[in-house]
């Protein structure tokens, strides 16, 4: 049985329409005019126990609204949510013991006090037994290095340390489900990596179900198998990360550095030059139409090449194309083979 079941979830906001100018402001103060805005429209999905799911979409797509509905902060306008057999808006307090929420932009730590004080507070709020608390703290010390800064006031922590502490704080009561709302926002690469590693370990060891919202595609690629893309309040993709790469990431680019400048290069059919600088040329083609090995053997047989790199499109640019409507994912056919392209010919990456 799925741990989270969402069906036809819809959320409308009432927006106060403000008119322009001073007169307009006065007018809308006296006779307020409202407009309904649909933030989330009939979305449905299910998540199984232990799954890690990425929830992505541009700003204002409805991600945070959905997360807030899952936690019971917001009541849905229509549709249903079933978490462990409960409805979040009706059984808010009960669900609260089963869910942990990390808001990347807001801390739940007490700003002026050492990190450990907030943990003490959470221990009594969630009625965590001494043994379970001790066990969790040991894990946090080991994996997040919490010990290094647990006695420091939160205001003195770096953003990375604060985030680590915040994540630990949301996990201290052993929730079955953790919702992350942009957990890596504003962090440097190393801090992000540390957090992703930790999340993966927790998922593995405790079989915790996790749902992320993020703008960082690397978060998704490194942690989740499945991703849900939401835009304008509706789900536009729900599937594996690999699948979307296969479906949409068909373009390959070969970057070759030639021994001398070649002006009139003759290329096989379907290969185009997209960028040129000095002796370096970027050549793009569709993987389904042109074989990578053919292009390479063609180039190496005709020209003197110093360096050669093959690039596959990053997930980020694929997503960008989906947002912009550049890809109609329903109509494209999936790729045929799984090639390990970057290892070919031992070229440098």
């Amino acid at each position: 049985m799925p741990i989270i079941e969402v069906s036809n979830l819809t959320k409308d906001y009432k927006l106060n329409v403000r008119k322009k100018g001073l007169l307009g402001s006065i007018q809308s103060l006296i006779i307020p005019e409202y407009k309904m805005k649909r933030a989330v429209e009939k979305i449905s999905f299910t998540i199984e126990k232990g799954d890690m799911v990425g929830f992505i979409g541009p700003n204002g797509a409805g991600k945070s609204t959905t997360v807030k509905m899952l936690t019971g902060i917001l009541t849905p306008t229509d549709g249903e949510i079933n978490i462990l057999g409960m409805s979040p808006s009706k059984q808010r307090k009960k669900i609260a013991t089963k869910i942990g929420v990390v808001f990347g932009q807001r801390t739940q730590l007490w700003w002026d006090l050492p990190v450990s004080d907030t943990f003490d507070l959470l221990k009594s709020i969630y009625r965590i037994s001494d043994s379970a608390y001790k066990k969790n703290m040991e894990m946090f010390n080991e994996l997040l290095g919490l010990k290094e800064f647990i006695t420091q006031p939160v205001r003195q922590l770096s953003l990375g340390q604060r985030m680590r502490a915040d994540i630990a704080a949301s996990l201290v009561h052993n929730p079955d489900i953790i919702l992350f709302d942009e957990p890596t926002i504003g962090l440097d690469v190393i801090a992000k990596e540390k957090i992703r590693e930790f999340i993966k370990v927790v998922n593995k060891e405790k079989n915790t179900t996790m749902l992320f919202t993020t703008h960082d595609m690397m978060d998704i690629e490194k942690t989740c198998k499945r991703m849900i893309i939401i835009d304008h309040g509706t789900i536009i993709y729900d599937g594996t990360v690999n699948e979307i790469k296969e479906k949409h990431g068909k373009k390959r680019t070969i970057v070759a550095e030639f021994a001398q400048n070649i002006n009139n290069i003759i290329l096989p059919e379907g290969v185009e030059i997209t960028e040129e600088a000095d002796n370096k040329k970027h050549m793009q083609f569709n993987r389904d139409e042109v074989q990578v090995s053919e292009v390479i053997s063609y180039l190496t047989s005709k020209y003197n090449i110093l360096d050669l790199t093959i690039k596959e499109p990053e997930i980020e640019s694929i997503i960008r194309e989906i947002y912009e409507g550049g890809i109609d994912y329903d109509k494209t056919v999936s790729g045929d083979s799984e090639e390990v392209i970057s290892e070919q010919l031992g070229v440098s990456r």
Partner: protein, 276 residues
């Protein structure tokens, strides 16, 4: 689905205690700064008292009230406000919690929202500032006013202070509720609250009928200071009002709190259905 156990009283008390301890520690982090906030409040309030003192030493009485009686009346305002802040700082700062998203965090914890709002904050500087003024006024005046402290009068005194604190909490809560509708009312609230409070620093019998009615029925500060003080000193101007008012302070407090709590629940419902 297993049932979660309801919190035992002892567990809730423990949570209250941990919150309290954290507030105390937070304050001690900035003891210097907090001390000056308390001092600033103390000085600000003492200025009006010194002015009152200077006027009263020259004219002896105002409307038959002596200086000691006036100060005794005034002490109710400070002591009850101090008690209000001690228990309900969270209600005073509630709109802040809504705007900063703290409320969302409380909503994802397995505890009642009102409990967390009340437990989460204690403003020691305000308690100290107002409390010191109140205690000074009380000790200066209570002997001269001539109160016989027996069981009945002590009970009355304590219940009047607590009732007064709850009346003020309810007034603050009304304004807090508007933040559920994303309407900021802090300044309107301060305008109404603190000016009515200033009125209530004098016997309400001084004022024209309209202001008296305002202080009894609309912003019932009369039950915070005038009627409790009159219970003890019985100045003749009490004849202007129904005698039963003397005993109504706790009742007014309780009734207001219940009504405002219903309004608050409605606001919370609207918050979760509309978002912020």
């Amino acid at each position: 689905m297993e049932q979660i156990k309801a919190y035992k009283k002892i567990e809730l008390l423990k949570i209250l205690f941990v919150f309290f301890k954290m507030n105390l520690k937070s304050m001690l982090e900035y003891k210097f700064d907090r001390f000056f906030i308390a001092l600033a409040i103390f000085v600000r309030e003492m200025v009006s008292i010194v002015v009152m003192f200077l006027i009263l030493t020259r004219f002896v009485t105002i409307g038959g009230w002596t200086m000691h009686e006036m100060f005794f009346l005034y002490s109710f305002l400070f002591l009850s406000y101090s008690i209000f802040v001690f228990f309900f700082t969270g209600i005073r700062d509630f709109d802040d919690m809504v705007y900063q998203g703290t409320l969302d965090r409380y909503l994802i914890r397995p505890l009642g929202l009102m409990f967390q709002v009340v437990a989460a904050r204690v403003d020691f500087a305000a308690i100290l500032g107002h409390g010191t003024v109140g205690i000074l006024l009380f000790t200066y005046s209570c002997k001269a006013v001539g109160i016989v402290w027996d069981f009945k009068s002590v009970t009355y005194y304590i219940s009047a202070l607590i009732g007064g604190a709850i009346i003020q909490a309810a007034l603050f809560m009304i304004s807090s509720c508007f933040s559920f509708w994303t309407i900021r009312t802090v300044n309107l609230r301060n305008l109404i609250f603190f000016n009515c409070r200033r009125f209530a620093g004098y016997p309400i019998s001084f004022y024209p009928g309209l202001v008296q009615k305002l202080l009894i029925f609309v912003v019932p500060f009369a039950f915070v200071s005038y009627f409790p003080a009159q219970y003890f000193i019985r100045k003749p101007d009490l004849d202007m009002f129904w005698n039963g008012y003397l005993y109504l302070t706790p009742l007014v407090g309780a009734a207001m709190f219940v009504l405002v709590y219903i309004f608050w629940r409605a606001g919370l419902k609207r918050y979760s259905s509309a978002g912020n």
